[in-house]
Amino acid sequence: MRYEAPNSLDQAVALLAHEPGEARALAGGTDLLVQMRTDLIDPVLVVDIKGIAELRQITEEAGGFRVGAAVTGAELKEHPKLKSVWPGIVEAANLIGSTQIQGRATMGGNLCNGSPAADSVPALIAAGAKASIAGPKGRREVPVEDVMIGPRKLSLAKGEIVASFLLRPRPAHTGDAYLRFIPRTEMDIAVVGCGVCLTLDGRGKCTAARVSLGAVADRPLLVAPAAHALIGTPLDEAALQKLAAAASAACRPIDDKRGTKDYRIKVAGVLARRAALIALERARKV
């Protein structure tokens, strides 16, 4: 196995694009090294992308943020502004693993690992984040929900790297939240995860919403009917019931040791409702 640590995106893309064998980008390595160790993957080339400036920075851009794909969970938490603007995203990223994992794990890695249960992904989708992708044919921006297409499967072409995430300027009266359910209090993989972002008008009526579910399908889902259950309402009991029903209806989960299909379907509705109430509280304050 070869190891390269380029300091430019162009070099990283060229290395990954020109390697005929299995090549992997290395950010925090908290998934990659485990997969190498357990022989799930056997790359001939690993390209460490942490030496590339854009990938390691959080910058304010166009009224929003550009968050480097290789910024760690601990660094997201320590940023003076990001958590107050997009708390749901930062809280979701901070749910991944232990303190030790937070010192290394990144949102770019969480997305590109391709797990349907990735915690930061539904939060990014709910917030309407875009992935800025660099590749042999240049740069492109795609909604985060279009990056993963199935377990361990991404819509990235050979040589493409998720370089950063673009977070739009947060509209007035907008709040986001992410909740996940696990069988214990820390250090586990989501049974269900739910991200909600919503915007209110001056009188408290919901004018825009996005709802995303993780761990209930072959990839994180953007659930339009769940958003529609909220839009035009003051998030009253009837709207929350419709939201829960729409979230549950969108699930097509598997049975596994963490939960049965029926359980996940039920919990998805409960979490959507709770996340919406947290997002509502936050939207009222800003």
Partner: protein, 158 residues
Amino acid sequence: MAKHHVTATVNGDAVEFLCDTQETLLDCLRDQLGLTGTKEGCSTGDCGACSVTVNGRLVCSCLMLAVEAGGTSIGTIEGIARGNELHPLQRKFIEHAALQCGICTPGFLVAAKSLLEKEPNPSETQVRFWLAGNLCRCTGYDKIVRAVLDAAAEMRGA
């Protein structure tokens, strides 16, 4: 494939070693540098026995390639005591009997020291969440948490 030549700082001392690409920082600390205080538990980042700091950040050394450590400053369990003088955390672990078999202990100490550098006056909840990635299968968690809180109090001069 030629080996990588890695230079870094470990517990304040300049070190250099040769490693294969797939070797982890944990492998090299133990096998190249002879620093066997850092333990291998699960090798998947779940147990925290291999905890070290890299540029001040607590990490699992089993989840980092050794070649990634080039140019970094690494802190291990061997750097915690000052000569024969134990760190307050080490003394409190002994006083509270916060260890049985001892395999998890270096990881707990490195992780706890990292917490107290960031938060000198942690609540019990903060200690428990910070140490959630350190597993003790002799199940001494309560004693460990008490030892950390007691050490924190002593270090604050309380």
